[in-house]
C-alpha cells in the first residue's frame, strides 16, 4: 500500500480549516494545518506535502503571496502544486501575482467558500489517488 497523500493547509480561519480538513481526511488524505504564513513555511519544509492549500489574506495583509514565494525558494518545494483558496476576490485575474511570486502553471485558484467536490477532484488530478 502506498503512503497516504499529504496536504498542507495554510489558513488563519480555524473554522474554515476545520471544515475543509474534515472533508479531505474523510476522503483518505492526511492534512497538516498552519494558522499563518510563518507556520506554513515551517510545516512545508518539515512535512514536504504533496500539495498545499493557501489562504491569501492572513492577519491584515496578503501574507499568502509572501508565503508562496518563501515556500518556492526551497528547492525541494519548488514544484509542489499550490492551490490558492481566498475570498479576497472571486476570480483569479482579479489579483496580480508578481511574476517572481512563484506562481506555476499547475497552480490553481478557488474562491471561498469552496465547492468541496470540485476541490477534491482537482486535488486528486494533481497528486493521484490517495494511497
Amino acid at each position: 500500500m502506498r503512503e497516504q497523500k499529504r496536504i498542507l493547509m495554510v489558513d488563519d480561519d480555524r473554522d474554515f480549516s476545520e471544515a475543509v480538513t474534515s472533508f479531505l481526511e474523510a476522503n483518505g488524505l492526511k492534512v497538516f494545518r498552519a494558522n499563518d504564513g510563518k507556520e506554513g513555511v515551517k510545516l512545508a519544509k518539515m512535512e514536504r506535502p504533496d500539495l498545499i492549500l493557501m489562504d491569501i489574506m492572513m492577519g491584515e495583509r496578503t501574507e499568502g503571496f509572501f508565503t508562496i514565494q518563501e515556500i518556492r525558494r526551497d528547492p525541494a518545494l519548488k514544484d509542489v502544486p499550490i492551490f490558492v483558496l481566498s475570498s479576497f476576490c472571486t476570480r483569479l485575474p482579479d489579483f496580480e501575482i508578481p511574476s517572481s511570486g512563484g506562481w506555476l502553471a499547475h497552480d490553481m485558484f478557488f474562491a471561498k467558500p469552496v465547492d468541496m467536490a470540485q476541490l477534491m477532484e482537482n486535488i486528486l488530478q494533481h497528486i493521484g489517488k490517495p494511497g
Partner: protein
Amino acid sequence: MSGAVLSPGVVVIDDDYAMRLSCGKILTKMGLRAETFEDGARGLEGVAKLNPDMVVVDLKMPGISGMEVLSRVHEIDPQIVIVVITGYATIDTAVQAMKCGAYDFLPKPFSPDELRLIVNRGLERRRLALESQRHELERAMLTRRFVTFVAHQLRTPLVAVHQYLNVMKHLDQSPAKEHEWINRCLTRIEELQNLIADWLTLARVEGGAMLKERIRVDLGQIILDILKAYQETAAAEGVSLEVQVQESGLCVLGDRNCLSVLFDNLITNAIKYNRPGGRVTVTGTVSAGEVVIAVADTGVGIAEKYRPFLFDEFFRVKDESAKKTAGTGLGLHISKRIVSEMGGTIHVESQVGAGSVFWVRLPAAHDPETGIGSQNDAGAETDSNGR
C-alpha cells in the same frame, strides 16, 4: 524623467534665436532644467519626451500656432503650466490664450526679472497642483483599500459558516461533531452581526450624529445600566464589577446611543481581557468642567508596542491570548471617534500582566440648577493606575 529629485524643467518654444538664447540662459541660471525649441512641432516632441513642469511658448510662430501648441501640451499633461509670450501684444490674444488654458502671459519685450517672476509663480502653481493631485490619489486609494478590507472582513465569517454547512451536507459525522460545528457557526454569525452593528455605529458617528443630537445625558445612569446588563457575563468569567460613580451630575451633551456604545465597548473589553478572580472598576468624577471616567481592569495589560495602534480601525493585538478573544477590531476605534466628536479625549495606561485603565474625558454639560458641572468627588478614588 519623472523629475522627483531633479530640478523643475522648463521648455521654451520660440522662433526667435536671440529670445531662445536669453531665456535659456536666465532659466539655467535659476537652477532649472531648460530646453529650447524653434517651432511648435519640435517643441511638442520635446514636451512629450521631457515631461517638463512648465512651457513658455511664443504665440506667433511659423508652422503650428502657439495657440495650438497650448492645447496640445495640455493633451500631453493637463497639469503643465503654460506661459504665452505675446509679441504684438493685444489684450485679446492674451485673454484668448488664457481661455485655452494658459496660466499667464508675458508681453514682449520683457525683462529677465519679469521672466523670473512669472516662472517662479508658475512653478509654485505646478507644485501645488501636483500635490493636490497626489492627495486626491492617496485618498482614493485609501478608500478603495478600506472597502476591499471591509468586504473581506464581512465575508470571512460568512465563508466559514458556508463551508461548515457545505461539508456537513457531504459528510456523515457524529452528532457530537455536528453539534460542535453548529455552535461554531452560531458564534461566527454573531461575529458577523457585531461587525455590522459596529460598522453602522461608525457610519452614524461619521455622519455627525454626535453633533446633530446633543441632548443632556447622565453618564452615571448609562454606566450603571451597562454594568447591570453584564453582571452575569462577568460572574461567568469570574470577574467582579465595581463602580464608584455619582448617581447624578456626570452629565454631558451628546447622543445617548453613541455614549452607550462608548462605555459598552470599554466595559466589555475590561471584562473580556481580564482574568478569573479579576476586577473591573469604573470611576466617574467631574473636575474643571470635565467629566472624567476611568474603566480599569486587572487583565493581561497591553504591551507598549501595541498602544499607538490601539485606536486604529481593525487593529487587534496579535498575542496568542488576544487571538482567542472574539472581536471586530472596531470597538476602540469607534470609542475614540465618539469621544473626539464630543470634543473629549481618550487614552490608556497599561501595565503588562497587571491591567489597563482607559481614561475618558468629556466636556461637562452646564447644570441648569447649580451652575457649571458639579462638585469634584465621587469617592475620590486616587489614581487608579497605581496598580
